[in-house]
């Protein structure tokens, strides 16, 4: 097994947590489990799935979206038809990995924003004290 450095391991730990959360959330719904079984039998379009599960197209799109984000399903649009198939790896593609990486940094920077705001407030208060 290749372990390049501990940053990769941190990546793994984070992905592990994030993907597991998404996967369990996705699997917690009976319809979505049904959809997974159905796609397991054969690839299906969203229209097929909506019909099979007596659901609106919009409703089915939402379920497929949840499964897709959890990395359980991949979809591909050919012409006007979006076909769903079982997908097992969310991070196969570099672009997906980069988006995940971006999100990690985004949540870090959101926390950094808070620290910076607090320091700015503190400086203003200290500044006022000094002027007095």
């Amino acid at each position: 097994m290749h372990v390049a450095n501990s940053r990769d391991i941190l990546n793994l730990m984070v992905q592990y947590t994030t993907r597991l959360d998404a996967s369990f959330a996705a699997l917690s719904d009976a319809t979505r489990r049904g959809v997974l079984e159905q796609i397991g039998r054969s690839d299906a379009s969203i229209t097929d799935l909506a019909e099979k599960f007596h659901m609106t197209l919009t409703g089915m799109k939402k379920h497929v979206g949840v499964l897709e984000r959890a990395g359980l399903v991949t979809t591909e649009k050919v012409g006007r038809v979006r076909t769903c198939k079982l997908g097992t790896h969310r991070f196969e593609e570099e672009t997906a990995w980069l988006e995940w990486y971006r999100q990690v940094w985004d949540s870090r920077f959101n926390e950094l924003d808070k620290v910076v705001e607090e320091l700015k407030r503190k400086e203003r208060v200290d500044g006022r004290k000094k002027r007095k």
Binding site: N5, D8, L10, M13, R19, L20, R102, V116, E117
Partner: protein, 174 residues
Amino acid sequence: MDARRGSEPTAPKNPTTAERKSERELVVTRTINGPARIVFEAFTKPELFKRWWVPKSLGLTLLSCELDVRVGGTYRLVFSHNGSEMAFFGTYNEVTPHSRLVWTNDEGGDDGAVTTVTLEERGGKTLLVMIDLYPSKEALDAAIASGSTAGGMSEQFDQLDELLVTLGASSGRS
């Protein structure tokens, strides 16, 4: 641009970008609503650094954080995740107050990246650019690939994948 505008409490979040700039480089950018001096402080004071480097949503705990921020000084971060511990460490190669930090990532041996953070202040806001330069294309490819295939920590993923295979196989048989 008014420097004070950024300090309004309801300032909207700025977008974060991430891209592979070259075969060996990953680049992350973000504008922070504050002066470079304060952002630099948040990178270099352990008590501030540990408040943002590991957001709760990552599911990790930062057990310890030692930053000796000077040229040749070292840092060491220890994380815990589900009971296992992991140390990250390296050396600061460049320290230019309020504008530039360069550190190595030594925990993984020769394949580790060198991280450069530059801070550029404009109108009371700071553009933060973070570049990870890997020693080779292969090292960066490997870093991405190991993230993609979730190596040693993937027991639960494997179980999920097996479940999917089983679902596919059992429904195929019926």
